[in-house]
């Protein structure tokens, strides 16, 4: 009897211990899942219709095409044989298990900022929380001699910080815990600068941190046909007039009173930011609002009703006004204010006033579908107009939008529109996979 009781006690203790351990494992795995979303791994490593994280996303670089790799725990094609140290080295330092250097399409200079405990959680998630998928990564399409990877090692030595340096630097920027958390997320896992910071001719981001200078997040080069805007405090072309709650709503639902997501950022919200906690999103917003304008010369945007008054009087003499009335005003309204969070405003929208009009031209040509998000299940479509409007009409209406209601961006010519049509991104409808409504 005593013996049985003794065994039961031992068993009970054993169970309790293993239950607690299990709970800790689950917590680590869930933390890893969260960090995978925060790091937007899916944007580059998941293709619609294939197993999650099995890679195969193509990147067109000047020297050729490369493909993202399978990061599922599959031992042959994935990272099943990576130790945690090897995993950490790949993510934070850009060094593969075989010792060669990753293309810097993998944002390891940003991921370098991730803490050891976060990297551990991420490793646990990718080993235990993601099903192994035996999917081979397509061969990169880069011709010799550019296909040789050893020059990348030099690139890495020169431009990529070591994890220790990176972690110390980002952690040392702010004493305010909310700003510090925002800095960690934005500069680290969320790697916003990969698209939103300008790059040098040698492809490294010109700044990797808030204290790296005002070029950081001041707007990047065209990605997939879209120009990433500045996330700094420029009044007209940055986030100067976005409130923190607008940024939070945008990242949580893809829509805010100040604008809606489109282009490459759609996937970043869909697979990434919408999964973050409101607390983390507020930290990101608070941090972004702390970044002073790179371009200090912008006059404050104020609403100018001149064009609205003209349209209300059926005066369509302004260049592009007729196209606007026929094609745009139903949703974006004659006053350009749209119906916030449903149909975005054009008046004062920073994307509209970007120096480079390519995003604006492309969204008119290709349209855009705002997909359903967990916290905002409705999906909305801006139709594609490339078959309905001529280059001249698109140039006219883009010019109209860029100078109406107090907007003050440069006019656009039909020749530019024609040029842009060559780099028109595929419509969201093209792969028949818009989030359903």
């Amino acid at each position: 009897m005593k013996k049985t009781l003794f065994i039961a006690v031992i068993l009970g203790a054993g169970l309790t211990r293993s239950a607690a351990a299990q709970e800790a494992d689950t917590a680590t795995l869930e933390k890893g899942r969260y960090l995978a979303a925060a790091s937007d791994c899916a944007a580059c490593h998941s293709v619609h219709g294939k197993p999650e994280y099995s890679g195969g996303v193509s990147f067109s670089l000047p020297m050729g095409k490369i493909y993202s790799t399978n990061i599922t725990p599959d031992p042959e094609h994935g990272i099943g044989r990576y130790t945690e140290a090897q995993f950490s080295r790949a993510v934070r330092e850009g060094v593969r298990r075989d010792g060669s250097t990753l293309y810097p399409a993998m944002p390891f200079p940003s991921y370098a900022r991730m803490t050891d405990s976060d990297i551990h959680a991420l490793f646990v998630y990718f080993r235990k929380g993601v099903p192994a998928a035996s999917v081979a990564t397509p061969d990169n399409e880069i011709k010799w001699p550019l296909s040789m990877r050893w020059p990348l090692t030099f690139w890495r030595w020169i431009f990529a910080p070591t994890p220790h340096k990176a972690i110390t630097r980002t952690a040392g920027e702010f004493t305010d815990p909310q700003l510090a958390r925002g800095a960690y997320l934005v500069e680290g896992p969320a790697h916003c600068g990969a698209c939103h910071s300008p790059r040098a001719i040698t492809m490294q981001e010109k700044a990797l941190t808030a204290d790296g200078g005002s070029l950081y997040l001041s707007g990047g080069a065209v990605v997939d046909g879209w120009t990433p805007p500045s996330l700094r405090q420029e009044n007209r072309t940055g986030l100067g007039r976005w409130r923190e709650e607008d940024i939070v709503a945008f990242l949580k639902t893809g829509r805010a009173e100040t604008g809606s997501v489109f282009g490459s950022m759609t996937s970043a919200v869909l697979h990434g930011t919408q999964k973050l906690t409101n607390e983390d999103l507020r930290a990101i917003a608070h941090y972004l609002k702390s970044l002073q304008a790179a371009d200090q010369s912008q006059t404050a945007w104020t609403y100018d009703p001149t064009i609205t008054d003209q349209l209300h009087k059926a005066d369509l003499s302004s260049r592009g006004a007729r196209v606007y009335i026929d094609r745009c005003a139903a949703c974006h309204r004659t006053d350009g204010k749209g119906y916030p969070a449903v149909f975005p405003p054009l008046a004062g929208n920073p994307v509209v006033m970007q120096t480079d009009p390519v995003s604006l031209v492309h969204i008119i040509q290709a349209g855009a579908t705002l997909p359903a998000m967990t916290a905002a299940p409705s999906s909305f479509t801006m139709p594609a107009f490339n078959h309905k409007l001529t280059d001249q009409q698109i140039a006219d209406v883009v010019t109209f939008i860029r100078h109406a209601w107090g907007n003050n961006a440069s006019p656009v010519s039909a020749e530019e529109v024609e040029q842009f049509s060559k780099s028109m991104p595929p419509s969201d409808m093209a792969d028949d996979t818009p989030a359903l409504n």
Partner: protein
């Protein structure tokens, strides 16, 4: 192996979507089967393809494909019914969203006395007032019982309107005949079109009580109780027959399905034509359904504990007849319930021309917007000296006349259909005329019913449903009386010309011209299993794990558009399924 789920819902329209939302909220796994194609507003509803009138209203993009299945129609029992081969008199929907995708958006509650019309008529005029052969019945549910569910539906639909009375207090210039509400409309009323404002003034001056039609067309951007968003209506006029590219017109596709699609408990199977509900050997319990994949022609059976029929009115009746749920109605012996009390609505559209200096601009419009009077609806006027049961709201509901419709509608009636006189008439009518409708009730009659056709079969080998329907004297006289009230209003509006349209004595139902898609009855709710197919919770009296949701439940055709009532009945039934049935499955009312 037969796949098992907690609940199967037939039909992806309003009734089905509401039930799916409610049942998944209750934790049930739900499969929704839709005969037609997948339809989503960001894809199919994208501007401007979605407002192509040729594809839309003319070639009937969103409507039932009659080449696969239809029904047969005859006026009287001594005739041979023939198939309805071209969509005309009424337009059942097909595809995800169902008729809820192509409707116009008029979103009424109910006139309380319409729910107990038999009792109300007897109380006021005596039983002898009811004509011989009229199957006048009560619903078995009261307005007060349904009120919370009307309120719930309006907040899902984003309904725009002006209330009259909220919690006993007069709050606005709404319909004085409308019953008390627990809360206001979620959105302010749609603005009056010019034609509606002229009607409002003339009706008011005549001593009537004009009010803004309650419209499930969003008057502002709106986020509903499920977090689904709507854009505001811009009066483009492409409501009825179209998926609204502005996301302003409420539809299951815009207002419910976006959130359902994110629920792992929910799955939707399009192109799934349900052939029958499968019953066990006792015929008192449903075990599942059998459907045909219309693409592969492969039959599949699914099993479930609970079956919801939420197809279009007559498809629900057809499915019950095909499955052996309940006893088919026999008009000769006046026994059986399935197919009994098939009803429609009376609708006549009159046209009024205003002076050339005033512009009604018929291209402007919104499906649910307008101004109506209820002075001749329901029990709001004295039927005693008139000798008929029922009534009609009268309204100017300028829904937007599209170009092809305008061209097809011009000329005729003494005006040429070609040449300059035709063009003048077209322009004059488009710019300066307006329509006034009497949209009224239709009573149920012993020899007006639905059954299975003995001859004709659909593409899947099943007998077609047969409709035996014509206009009856009571309803013709009601319509004539109400239309006679339009003339003085039209004169007061400054009419230079009018074309008043009413039903004529002895006029048979004509399937060739559009009237309304507001079909009802055939599987009606009630308190007596001898005279109703479903109980007051819309549960089959005979097979208690089958609920039949839709306008099939209406014992009479009422003056109001049916969608608001269908939605409230769906929420009502869902509430009782969740509160009572799921805890102890079985009949909610003892037969």
């Amino acid at each position: 192996m037969v796949k098992h789920v907690d609940a199967i819902i037939v039909g992806a329209g309003w009734a089905g979507s509401i039930m799916a939302k409610e049942l998944t909220e209750a934790g049930l796994s739900v499969v929704m089967l839709e005969r037609g194609a997948e339809r989503t507003t960001p894809v199919e509803g994208a501007y401007p393809e979605s407002i192509d009138e040729l594809r839309g209203a003319i070639r009937k993009r969103l409507f039932q494909n009659l080449s696969q299945s239809t029904l047969t129609i005859r006026n009287t029992m001594d005739q041979t019914a023939l198939p309805y081969r071209q969509l005309a008199a009424f337009l059942p929907g097909e595809g995800v969203g169902g008729a809820g995708l192509h409707w116009s958006g008029v979103h009424f509650r109910v006139a309380p006395e319409d729910l107990r019309l038999r009792s109300a008529i007897i109380e006021r005029y005596g039983e002898k007032f009811i004509p011989e052969g009229m199957n006048l019945q009560d619903y078995g549910v009261s307005y007060d019982e349904l009120e919370p569910f009307f309120d719930k539906a309006e907040k899902v639909f984003g309904t725009a309107g002006e209330a009259y009375k909220v919690q006993g207090k007069i709050v606005g210039d709404g319909n004085v005949f409308s019953p008390d509400r627990s809360d206001n409309f979620p959105l302010p009323a749609m603005k009056d079109t010019f034609s509606a404002s002229v009607f409002r003034d003339a009706a008011k001056n005549a001593g009537y009580h004009p009010y803004s039609l309650p419209a499930a067309n969003a008057s502002r951007q709106y986020t509903n109780t499920y977090g689904c968003q709507m854009g505001p209506c811009n009066f483009c006029g492409y409501c009825s027959g179209y998926d609204c590219y502005l996301y302003s017109k409420a539809s299951p596709n815009v207002n419910i399905l976006p959130v359902l699609r994110q629920d792992p408990r929910f799955s939707l199977i399009p192109n799934a034509h349900v052939l029958r509900v499968d019953l066990d050997s006792t015929k008192t319990k449903a075990t599942g359904v059998t459907y045909l994949d219309t693409k592969t022609r492969k039959e599949t059976s699914l099993s479930a504990d609970l079956i919801i029929l939420g197809a279009f009115q007559f498809h629900n009746v057809h499915l019950m007849l095909m499955s052996g749920i309940g006893k088919p109605y026999d008009p000769v012996s006046n026994t059986g319930t399935v197919g009994r009390n098939f009803v429609y609505q009376t609708i006549t559209s009159s046209r009024v021309w205003l002076p050339p200096s005033t512009y009604t601009n018929q291209f402007v419009g919104a499906g649910g917007a307008g101004v109506a009077i209820d002075d001749f609806n329901s029990m709001n006027f004295d039927h005693g000296p008139l000798g008929f049961v029922g009534g009609s709201p009268v309204w100017v509901n300028q829904a937007g006349v599209k170009p092809i419709a305008a061209a097809l509608g011009a000329g005729g009636g003494g005006t040429p259909r070609w040449g300059s006189a035709y063009k003048d008439s077209l322009v004059n009518t488009y710019k300066h005329s307006l329509g006034i409708d009497a949209h009224g009730s239709n009573m149920a009659y012993r020899d007006v019913y639905l059954d299975l056709d003995p001859t004709w079969k659909d593409a899947y080998g099943q007998p077609l449903l047969r409709m035996t329907f014509t206009w009856k004297d009571n309803d013709i006289r009601m319509n004539q009386y109400v239309v006679s009230k339009i003339e003085p209003i039209a004169r007061a509006m400054g009419a230079t010309k009018m074309n008043l349209v009413h039903l004529n004595a002895g006029q048979p139902f004509d399937t060739r011209t559009y009237q309304t898609t507001h079909l009802g009855g055939g599987a009606i709710m009630g308190e007596n299993p001898q005279t109703s197919a479903i109980n007051r919770y819309l549960q089959s009296w005979d097979v208690s794990n089958v609920f039949v949701i839709g306008s099939n439940a209406f014992p009479q055709g009422m003056g109001y558009n049916p969608t608001g009532m269908v939605a409230a009945l769906a929420y009502w039934a869902a509430h009782h399924i969740r509160a009572t049935y799921l805890k102890s499955p079985g009949p909610l009312v003892k037969a």
